[in-house]
């Protein structure tokens, strides 16, 4: 039966329960980075205003892995999107949905990336809490 291409593909793209959640991973990284940066700034500026330099390094230390994570998600989603395979023969099947979720996840990593860079910018430029 496995040489039936339709069935094979149906199995490969069988109901991805977690895939709707996967869409949100990019924005979730942005959100986590945002909360960490804001929380750290709030605590440091309230309790240890002199420690601005370590705070800026800490934000940089959170930003780089966050950006790397988003890029990694984007790469996975790009592969799932399968942009260069424009074979229309398996139109309207599970694969379409599979690729759609990849495309949407990929597109969502773009504003997540930009948003994360934007969040890091104030820490790059502001040399003081005040």
């Amino acid at each position: 039966m496995i040489d039936d291409p339709t069935l094979e593909q149906e199995q490969e793209f069988a109901e991805e329960e977690a895939s709707l959640i996967k869409l949100t991973f990019g924005p979730l990284i942005w959100a986590a980075h945002f909360v960490l940066s804001y929380g750290a700034a709030a605590v440091v500026c309230a309790k240890f205003p002199a420690a601005i330099a370590p705070l800026r390094w800490a934000i940089a230390g959170v930003t780089l892995p966050a950006l790397a994570g988003i890029l990694w998600l984007a790469w996975l989603a790009w592969r799932q999107w399968d942009f260069f395979d424009r074979d229309e023969s398996h139109d309207r099947s599970g694969e379409r949905r599979h690729e759609f979720l990849g495309q949407a996840a990929f597109l969502l990593t773009v504003p997540s990336f930009i948003g994360t860079v934007y969040t890091a910018l104030p820490a790059l430029f502001a040399g003081t809490c005040r």
Binding site: D4, T6, L7, E10, A14, E15, E16, E17, S19, L20, L23, T24, P27, L28, W30, A31, F34, S37, Y38, A41, A42, V43, C45, A46, K47, D91, R92, S93, G94, R96, R97, F100, L101, Q103, A104, L107, L108, V110, P111, S112, I114, G115, Y118, T119, L121, P122, A123, F125, A126, T128, C129, R130
Partner: protein, 870 residues
Amino acid sequence: MTADATGEATGDATRGHGRFGTDAPPPQGPFPPTEAMLSEPVPGDVARAQEDRLRRVWKTPEGWRYFSDVNNTSVGRWYCLTAFFFMLCAGVLALLMRLQLAVPGNDLLSADRFNQFFTLHGSAMMFLFAVPIFEAVSILILPALLGARDLPFPRLSAYGYWCFLIGGIFVMGSVLFDVAPRSGWFMYPPLATEDEGIGSDIWLLGLSFIEVASIAAAVELIVGVLKCRPPGMRVNLMPLYAWYVLVVGGMILFAFPPLIAGDLLFELERSLDWPFFDAARGGDPVLWQHLFWIFGHPEVYIVFLPSIALAAMIVPTAARRPILGYSWIVLSAVGTGFLSFGLWVHHMFTTGLPTLSLGFFSAASEAVVIPTGVQLFAFVATLMAGRVKMSLPMLWIAGALAIFTAGGLTGVMVAIAPFDWQVHDTYFIVAHLHYTLFGGMVFPVIGGVYYFFPVITGKELSNRLGRWAFWLIFAGFNLAFLPMHLTGLKGMPRRVFTYPGDLGLNWLNLVSTVASFVIAAGFAVFLWDLLRPKGSRRTPRNPYDAGTLEWSQSPEGETWGVRSIPYIHTRYPLWQQERILERMDAGRYYLPDAEAGQRETIITSVIDARPLQVLRLSGPTWVTMLAALFTGGTFILPTFKMYAPALICGVLAAMTVLYWLWTATARIPERETVDAGLGLKLPVYVSGSGSVGWWAMWITMLGDSTAFASLVFGVFFYWTARSDYPPPGSDHADPWLAGAALAAALLSWGLTLVARGLNRRRRRGARLALAAALPATMAAGAALFYALRLPGLDPVTHVYPASMWVLVVWAGAHLGLGLVMQGYCLAGLTFGRITPRHDAPMWNVSLYWHFLALTMLVTVATLAVVPRVM
């Protein structure tokens, strides 16, 4: 294996079935249906008998019983009209304010009355119009968009509506007695906490009541989108409106609970003098601003996204082609939903927060422009690629895009903190927010009314009157609000009842006032068009030649929604699926019959919409209205310090809801499976993660946990904002009692799970385990109470004990609810309402207890451990 109409393999419906907790017989029969199955005609006499049964089951109650209806079409209509009525009331307040501001030094309104008017104008437009109209329109059209007969919890919609009506009349009516809230729609303490009179209480209690109804609607709509789609409608085929509903429903779950938590703190300060916002006793008014705007900014997008979703339905119809960039619009909806939670502090740029913090929020405010802009570009691209037919709805959408873009541009300006410092609290902001709300909400909604009116009523609105209304409102709006940018830049502050005559503001204000009456004239035309008698002639089905499923609604005023629920494999089925209407009308598809004499709809899987269940829906009842009345009493009576009657109302409300659950939910069916049509046999009773009730509980508890997290956030906020939190030398909670409370709660949780397992495996002892869980729950509550009571922590003295007590109140109330649920399951087992096979309540209650166990863990840690570390 054969090929179906779509070229897709037809397989067995059992595949992909296997969720935890589901003990139901798996779906049986072929799915998807083959072309041969769909081309087989339905015999005429069979079809007529089916139609009779459907008609009887879905009949709308007549006479005064009409108001016991719970069907989405009736409730949705009442909801829309009520929200529209409140909008008109709030609009009249705006006109009166404009009259007061027409000339300098005017004495038409006193300062106090002016304060009441602007407070109520903003509150009503937001809480009684903008958010409810989203729920109203969605309840009305979402089932039609999905080809469903109704949403999964019709009685919940009706309950939400009655709550909204009662709360809305209470809040709106207060202005007639000169006791309306008067501290601005955001109720900043200490102005609002210290305010004499009952205005602030009316705002807090009346609107909390409506916020609860909003969360109920969000739960209903999210489950509707995820589980009530027609067979075959995978997530990539959903109408864009459904995507937006999903995103906005999720946003409501995370945005409203912080406000509810804030309301709780606020009302505790007003009634019991717990000093959450009183700086003299360690409190901080800025906490309210945080909680309010964590709600308040996402709220703007909660209002904007569903309205722009209407545009996403109208634009492809006008362009006569499928939308361009479907995935891009999904991106923008989801992306906007997320980013909108990182903007709230841009309402607080002038509160003296560290500039570094301001920078984060300024950055996020600029970033949100990207997803917001993407969807507008997708609309424009669709229009450019299509052959546009400039219909009246499209005219409103075009106006919306123009106005919203202008509002967005000033938004980019005020997102820059230094610019905001200049224009904060001036008419520049008034102009900005009205441009975003008229463009992002009012215009698309009116366009949506013109567009969907034939679906809802079978009649069309007048093209000529609609154009008059459009040009009056469009011209009036720009004339009234464009000058306000200048009024604001020249320095006129908001929320002040008059202004001196020598600041160069006179003619600007006069122009705004005159133009506001042009807007009012436009609304009068629209109102007349909406309400005027339209004769008995029905418009043809699908007058705009649209491609989505809502236009398949049965003609001739049938109330069953669709004659049969279609198999969908395209985004625009009426354009792309041949003969679909004919087959739907013939009853060729799913659920063409109502053999059991009960209202039913199909439940499908979340991602690929495989049919899973035939869900029995509840019919007309008075119990929802009664429950709303008692709930209303519980919220409204405390305004007048009538605590005993309020308590009685609360008990009655709880009893009514229990009666409703007991008699109408998770009823054991007469047969395990029913024929859903096209050879498919589906189970009727599903428990565990496959059931809609379980999903509703999960989603509700997500919102509930957000409110709890907001209270915990408060503790950490006070710690960062104040050096005397906790005050030096203060007593702390008793660690042993707190630990005992946690142990008892975890024991009760475990016993609940054990009871579920024993019952499922048909073993003895399930009732015993539940009976033992009850005292454990009570012991947990008592131990938690005494953990604070014994060290003598008095919540009135300082914010530290108050913030600890509020956690205990929260956890205690949830323990009480958990106790009632355990009792409900015990009764269900005893009276045969729960059996080993039919145990949905046990699964839902276990799920609640998972969240409760987590709540207890965090509460006890925050009570007993965290302050000692601080």
